[in-house]
Amino acid sequence: MRFLLLLMAVTASAQVRDTDWLTYGLNLAGWRFSDLAQMTPANVKSLSLEWVFQTGVPGKHETTPLIKGDVMYLTGPENTAFALDLKTGRQIWKYSKPLPPGVSVCCGLVNRGFAMYGDTLYKVNLEATVVALDSKTGATIWETPMADPRKGYSGTVAPIIVKDKVVVGIAGAEFGTRGFVDAYDIKTGKRAWRFWTVPSPDEPGGNSWPNDKVAYQRGGGSTWITGTYDPGLNTIYWGTGNPGPDMNGDVRPGDNLYTCSLVALDADTGKLKWHFQYTPHDVHDWDATEDPVLIDVDRGGRKVKAVIMANRNGFYYVLDRTTGEFIEGKPYTEVSWAKGLDKRGRPILVSGQDPTPDGNKSCPGGGGGHNWQATAYHPLLNLYYFTSTDGCHTYYMTNQQFLEGAWYQGSTFSGEGLFPKGSIVALNPSTGDIKWRWQMVSPPSAGVLATAGGLVFSGDSFGYFFALDAKTGKPLWNRNLGATVIAPPVTYARGGRQFLVISAGTSVFTFALPKP
């Protein structure tokens, strides 16, 4: 028996090849699926702590760490970043750039991670710049401003590398800014192209805004979550945020393109190939900045190249990623603002759901059902996993004078007296049918990771890091890390062992099965 166990251990070890994590979504299609299978439902209870690293930087840690060679590269809040020794978690270098005055952020001084090409790391800084760092030292190679932070622009997104360009988005749609997707030359930092997510009045789509010189300039459409890329179609897919001001639609009659939309951009030129607007004329702050995941779906025996999204507005969508055509859409949580979607995917509205001075209740709430937290697609089980806040808000509206650089939300929403719950949802990505739902007692906080071993990993606001059975949603293991988990877990392998990495509070934890 002992011999047999030893043999099994050796075999398992031989099967686990070294595996990196090199880009935000693990692949450019945004799957966050690892083919590592050493951790399984049978052994996950044996996971134990390998090391902990404390960043010492207060604030929310939302980073997806990158793993390459012997090093882990992670970004922290307040313009910080770290390179850690993969074996021990000890710091190799720290990057820290003081925050200039005048930077305004809606939701914390956060950063969601690096992109990497060769020996160079790329990140955005809060003052709306893109910076290239030498991965050996953390020294700055170049830094390029994207926009003026005093106008309310900020940088929080993890970039992606597409051919010879670093592609990034911008935050700031709560401050009356105009969103864009940018591409910069990886060597020089020179801007290669920009796609404005809000057209000017004389451009296509410009007639979906008031015909004046100001509305589109404050039109929002920020791009604060990383997009995806299909090399075969040479197309970048990027979700856009709310229109500005968020909850006062009276000052911006029209559909307000291309806010709350998915835009498909030519990777070489940034030119728009197509767009799909999930929430025309949004007044509930339902950014479409959720992961746009690229998969092939089965539609009656026919394979369709699709882009899927669990949208903040409560519906799950399948689009043809070649044409932008709407294929399928279903609610995955309580939706009160729309009866459903028409044949082209446009919502069929319910009256009495818009914000008013005295407030109207609508579901989902202002943070939406699913928000930005990373999702995962398991190709072996054909299941798509994401978190959902299941509840409602009261939405208020206020007339508001625009002040450059100031909060421009057109009022607010309130959860007073409402107690939303949460869930992790697994659905069939071809149909939107829910396979299982793991109920949480309060809204979720973290992203998810799926593995070939048959596990889904995530965390929660109570500090638990946990594993669910990918097939059934049954909880199999948990460990409390003492602080809220927001970031998604990542996994990698070295020396025949699979490792898990998760940030909680201001610390980074690494777990593995005991050494054989």
Binding site: Q409, S411, S414, V441, N478
Partner: protein
């Protein structure tokens, strides 16, 4: 900055401040300043000091180490004072007169009211409900009055009701200390803390209600005496 609030007590300026507040402050502090992500501003006491100048400083310069940003350079001096004036106008703790007898209220609290069985004041009393040592600083007169006959009108966050049934079929009910995705901890009337892995239970439920009885049978005089006593609990000497 002006040495004093130029709009102090001016209702029109407070209303202008209200408009600004709903837009700029409401997202964190609640649409009526009742609190949310940021602190409740209707209590008349504030973490960063209680004078108009303290409030001005917080709004104009922000609070280092928190998500409270600096608004001074964005909205200008007058608008900061308008916000201060509005916040003062909703700090209504002193607006309702105290008519009861605090000494009588104290007797009821520790005697026939039974309040002390669940609520601690200083070193005395039970632990199931919220500690009331400083409740006079934290809550308005109206709030205190309403809490006595409508305890479900507004629950102190976290003090919800947890009901579990053990695998042996025993039902236990108490006030939440923690209720998360995997475990629960709650306190029963005897002061005992119970802790369970939720997997080890037949069922575990949380309801957003209070275990406190509604004192609807009390006379108006008893209620007023109790309010007077609670309002006097400000953590000062002898209380």
């Amino acid at each position: 900055m002006a040495a004093q609030n130029p709009f102090a007590g001016n209702a029109a300026e407070a209303d202008a401040g209200r408009g600004l507040f709903r837009i700029m402050c409401g997202p964190c502090h609640g649409i009526k300043a009742q609190g949310g992500r940021g602190p409740d501003l209707t209590l008349g006491v504030y973490n960063a000091g209680n004078t108009d100048r303290d409030l001005y400083r917080v709004i104009a310069s922000g609070v280092s180490g928190t998500e409270m940003p600096a608004y001074g350079s964005r909205i200008g001096d007058d608008n900061v004072w308008r916000l201060v004036t509005y916040i003062r106008s909703v700090a209504n703790r002193r607006e309702v007169p105290v008519t009861g007898d605090a000494a009588e209220g104290e007797k009821i609290y520790w005697g026939k009211g039974g309040c002390g069985n669940c609520h601690r004041i200083g070193q005395r009393g039970g632990v199931m409900g919220p500690d009331l040592t400083l409740v006079g600083r934290k809550r308005s007169i109206e709030y205190l009055r309403r809490a006595l006959d409508k305890p479900n009108a507004d629950l102190t966050p976290g003090f919800y009701t947890v009901t579990v049934v053990t695998k042996q079929g025993q039902k236990i009910q108490g006030v939440q200390r923690s209720f998360d995705n995997f475990t629960t901890q709650f306190v029963t009337a005897d002061g005992k803390v119970h802790s369970y892995q939720r997997d080890d239970l037949q069922s575990s439920e949380r309801s957003y209600t209070s275990l406190m009885p509604a004192y609807t049978s009390w006379s108006e005089a008893m209620l007023n005496d109790m309010v007077a006593y609670l309002a006097s609990l400000r953590g000062e000497a002898g209380k």
